[in-house]
């Protein structure tokens, strides 16, 4: 086999590798949380408490102040989008399970292309993978988009710390 044939083989191998890397980078479109953050903290609970939006959130009926953490995504999802949701779910499960149990914190993951969610999508102005936090105090809603977390993707600890800080800041405001 000549040197160039070897080069040709190497080139074909590179293409195969490329294809594999493409599939692994963006291949998960089902919304399954495969790349679960392995956040390097000491305790690593598995994310479980994902609430999928079925109802329209408004102020709670008994007038309790509440923080909605709303994660919107398109039906077709990329690795970063799945990571972002997993990180939020992990953070809520790890640090805010009491608030979730008390009904002070509600997390929702919403497919924005599902027509059943059209009202929510319109209310939040969602159009891609986006995280919103909605503080409901005395029946008044204050919706904010959180973009800073997207810059921590890939850094488990920093992502979780930033998500925790964003949630804590708003929960304190509700007290």
């Amino acid at each position: 086999m000549g040197i160039f044939s070897k080069f040709r083989l190497a080139a074909l191998a590179a293409v195969l590798l490329l294809t594999v890397s493409l599939v692994s980078a963006c291949g998960d479109t089902t919304g399954q949380p495969t790349p679960t953050p392995t956040i390097s903290a000491t305790v690593q609970p598995t994310p479980t408490a994902t609430v999928v939006a079925t109802a329209q959130p408004t102020a709670t009926p008994d007038g309790q102040n509440v923080l909605y953490v709303m994660y919107f995504h398109r039906t077709q999802r990329c690795a970063s989008c799945i990571y972002a949701e997993d990180g939020i779910v992990w953070t809520i499960d790890t640090y805010f399970s009491d608030e979730v149990a008390d009904g002070k914190l509600i997390f929702m993951s919403i497919d924005l292309q599902d027509t059943a969610n059209a009202e929510l999508v319109s209310k939040y102005g969602a159009y891609t993978s986006q995280l919103f936090m909605n503080k409901v105090t005395n029946g008044e809603e204050e919706i904010e988009q959180i973009t800073s977390l997207w810059f921590y993707i890939g850094n488990d600890q920093a992502y979780s710390d930033a998500a925790k800080a964003e949630i804590e800041e708003r929960l304190e405001y509700l007290e």
């Binding site: 293409v15 890397s21 077709q76 970063s80 102005g125 159009y127 986006q130 988009q145 810059f151 850094n155």
Partner: protein, 239 residues
């Protein structure tokens, strides 16, 4: 501190928003989300791999195509107001998901040369765009830049519409930011294409196999286009 966090802190500091626009573009280019389009662009631009001058100019034209798309979108939003973002971003992402796959398959097939152009007659606008991208030496890379910029992946859409556009609206020179962002998104492709061209042309000249190397690189580029095209079609069909 990773590059991502550096970009966040730099952007939040508000000191040099134009540099922030460039860095946000760079971040969009190197994130896993737009990897498929970047690799396709790299393969496409490298099709005349041993012609380093062509690769450099094609990379620049590809970036220029991205600049045109992002600038038009940016200007439209700045003029019409932020309220148009959800509708515009949604329709761009949806049409990108639908058309990008078939377009890349057409481009790849034409690059392979297994189907002659007349066979694609009647294929409509998609075939005509595909033909221009695949056949035109200078217009091709430019059009590819235009199309790839319009096909937002979710992460790029977030960086462009939710981070860059608000930054543009706040700044006096903000109207130029989408173009600067585009340079950030195109630069890694341009640099890698030139590096690849430099390496391959050196190796192939040493082996005295310039023509054969070009033929194979062109075939590989075509296969990458078709492969990524099929990948996008499958994603679209699944969603």
């Amino acid at each position: 501190m990773g590059f991502n966090e550096f970009v966040l802190h730099f952007t939040e500091s508000g000191g040099w928003p134009v540099i922030a626009a460039f860095l946000i573009g760079l971040l969009a280019a190197i994130s896993p989300c737009p990897l498929t389009t970047n690799i396709t662009a790299l393969a496409f631009i490298s099709r005349n791999i041993t012609d380093r001058k062509y690769v450099a100019i094609a990379g620049a034209l590809y970036t220029l195509g991205r600049m045109v798309s992002y600038s038009i979108i940016g200007v439209v939003i700045i003029l019409a107001g932020e309220h148009i973002i959800p509708g515009l971003a949604n329709s761009l992402q949806s049409s990108g998901e639908m058309f990008l796959g078939p377009l890349l398959i057409v481009v790849g097939i034409l690059m392979l040369g297994i189907i002659k152009i007349p066979a694609l007659k009647g294929g409509g606008r998609l075939a005509r765009i595909g033909e221009k991208v695949a056949r035109r030496r200078w217009l091709g890379p430019f059009l590819l830049g235009v199309v790839f910029a319009l096909a937002f992946c979710p992460y790029t859409a977030l960086l462009f519409f939710a981070v860059l556009i608000p930054l543009s609206i706040k700044s006096t020179a903000g109207i130029t930011f989408p173009a600067v962002f585009a340079i950030g998104t195109g630069l890694p492709v341009l640099i890698f294409a030139v590096l690849l061209s430099f390496s391959v042309s050196k190796v192939s000249k040493w082996l005295d196999k310039v023509t054969a190397a070009e033929k194979w690189v062109r075939r590989i580029a075509a296969v990458v286009c078709i492969g990524v095209g099929i990948y996008y079609v499958v994603l679209w069909a699944q969603s």
